[in-house]
Symmetry: C2
Subunit: 380 residues, 2 copies
């Protein structure tokens, strides 16, 4: 890996592993969950609170920051760490995923993608070189290669074309200049096809990236198919590099991914669901707006030792704040959910160290299913 | 005053005074500014942050809490202090002002007011007795008598009718049961007519209230007229009881009111303006969205020693957050504005103690005017 970076595996249990990922800004224990700070803010949180949840690395979205305030402005304000006041590690995605999911009038060619901004309709063009240029200006510890991410229902031929383009673009990303303190991860495509994933791992992992990610998962396919791909191929990614599963996921997915050998995750689920009144707990999901919470003096999760559940926020008060559309509800539940994700990963690392990750995971997931307060109809 | 309450004047400068207001929950130095927590939350803030701004007393709105979650639910969740997690003093208004300003299809008679809820159109009726019942259930340290508050442009006859009704209702409030640890303040009406204000002070202040408020100001009349009334009559309110100017105001108004002899203020200005991107500082107002802030690395106010200006939030970052409609911008600026109001009142108390309140006030207000970054067209 690049100078200033290191990845040291310290414990294994089946395919699962505990490691220390070192960047110029932080040492992060993996498996780890990265809160998403799309435009340079984990929605509603101060960075002091994000740190309080146990997070060591935060993701920011290149596409959004490119459009506004522009990478030049972020650079002029000291780069992402200073700009956002986040002293630990940061990762930027390549912008590709958002171009494929948010932008309209998208045209892909072998050189890059032309599309309209979702903000004001301006025509823009993103190429591997432009993504590297933007990410260099943003200055995160870890940059992601620019890839083509096909939708979850893409046919095999489309997935194969995306793989070929992703490989060609990966080489162009490696050939582009970047900051001295910035690592670069490659992205593996291949949809839910185990053979294609294996083929792309062979292609991509031959290239001198500092880490590797599985892209193109959790993009609409059934979760069971994603779990199968993870079980099949995650452990076949290089042993000595961090493995990152992009855009995932639920507690169930984080556990399945870690057992399959994944080290890093990111997802808007804990933050977005919090703003919609949903808390994630050791007893499954809590929908704060339910009538049962109206006069409930107890906390969201009596078992949680976090800053929402131990400081007097009653379910009844939070329900009231949600009904009244008060900002504080989303803020407190976001803090709760991120804290819960932090604790979940911490206990998972402990279970891996103790060699009982699988049985620990089964009992945790059983309990979440049994006590879940959200009906199957509300399943997300 | 009621047992558990006390009001001790410790310094005077002209009509201005510094005092300690003691309630069963806190001892508050006056003149003081009370942040507004309309539905039981100072919008965007945790109560830990509210305390950090120097606030000792928070106002909550009876009308809003009556409609939702209902006073019975607040009571069942432990009363306002426990419900909102605010350990210091609380004050509830009577609900009258909101009924007169928010509700529709309002009919006033000598017994009370019938109106439609602004939330769902339900027909409701508020009387002095009902206001006292609701405020007793809410359980704030200080309750306000139910008054009739005419608009700023009401004619003299309307103001006189409102005074008569307010006096009659005041007596009914005093005759109603309330909690043992709850004080009750009377409200003086009279519009901008000095003679009517004097007449109503005589009527109201003969009644055994624990404190007195000036209502019906800052309701649309020019600020110069309000300042004149304050100069004329504030010092004629009882010396040995707290004097509260309701719904006011700007830094200019807080200073003018204090110099005239007022002890307590509340207003949504610092919180609402923050959410609209406006910061209040020793150098006047800052409109964070202005282009001049785009690449500005410095804080909102270099002179401020508060938790927004000393912890690395650049104007450029806050402007970006505002443009991107991120919650964090309003949150940080609210913290800033409340901290600024807390410091302003603290320095004002110091100037009163030192006997130079008037000259201190002139120099502070001059500087705010000279350096204000918001054009007259944006004046609020």
């Amino acid at each position: 890996m690049r100078a200033g970076f290191d990845f040291r595996v310290s414990a294994r249990d089946g395919h699962a592993r505990v490691a220390e990922l070192e960047t110029p800004s932080a040492v992060i224990e993996t498996p780890t969950f990265m809160p998403v700070g799309t435009v340079g803010s984990v929605k509603g949180m101060s960075m002091e609170e994000v740190a309080q949840t146990g997070a060591g690395i935060v993701l920011a979205n290149t596409y959004h920051l490119w459009l506004r305030p522009t990478p030049e402005v972020v650079r002029s304000l000291g780069g992402l760490h200073t700009f956002t006041r986040w002293p630990k590690a940061m990762l930027t995605d390549s912008g590709g995923f958002q171009v494929f999911s948010l932008a309209s009038l998208r045209t892909i060619d072998d050189d890059g993608v032309t599309f309209r901004s979702h903000l004001d309709g301006t025509m823009l063009r993103l190429t591997p070189e432009e993504s590297m240029r933007i990410q260099t200006l943003l200055g995160a510890d870890i940059m992601m290669a620019f890839d083509e991410c096909p939708p979850g229902d893409a046919d095999r031929a489309t997935v194969e074309r995306a793989m070929a383009r992703t490989t060609a673009w990966a080489k162009r990303c490696l050939d582009s200049p970047r900051g001295e303190k910035q690592a670069l991860f490659g992205i593996i495509q291949g949809g839910v096809h185990t053979d294609l994933r294996r083929q792309h791992i062979k292609e991509l992992c031959a290239l001198p990236f500092d880490g590797f990610a599985l892209g193109g998962l959790s993009v609409g396919e059934p979760w069971q198919e994603m779990h199968k791909v993870l079980d099949d191929v995650a452990h076949e990614m290089p042993e000595d590099r961090p493995r990152y599963l992009m855009g995932v996921g639920t507690p169930r997915d984080l556990i399945a991914g870690s057992l399959a050998g994944i080290d890093m995750f990111d997802c808007v689920l804990p933050t977005r669901n919090a703003r919609n009144g949903q808390a994630l707990t050791w007893n499954g999901r809590v929908n704060i707006k339910q009538l049962r919470n109206r006069e409930e003096r107890g906390p969201v999760d009596p078992e949680c030792d976090g800053p929402c559940c131990t400081t007097g926020y009653s379910r009844g008060y939070l329900r009231h704040l949600f009904q009244a559309q008060e900002i504080l509800c989303g803020r407190v539940l976001t803090l709760h959910n991120l804290y819960f994700f932090g604790r979940l990963m911490k206990r998972l690392r402990q279970a891996i160290r103790e060699g009982n990750a699988r049985s620990w995971a089964d009992s945790v997931l059983d309990r979440m299913r049994e006590n879940d307060e959200v009906g199957p109809a509300d399943d997300a």
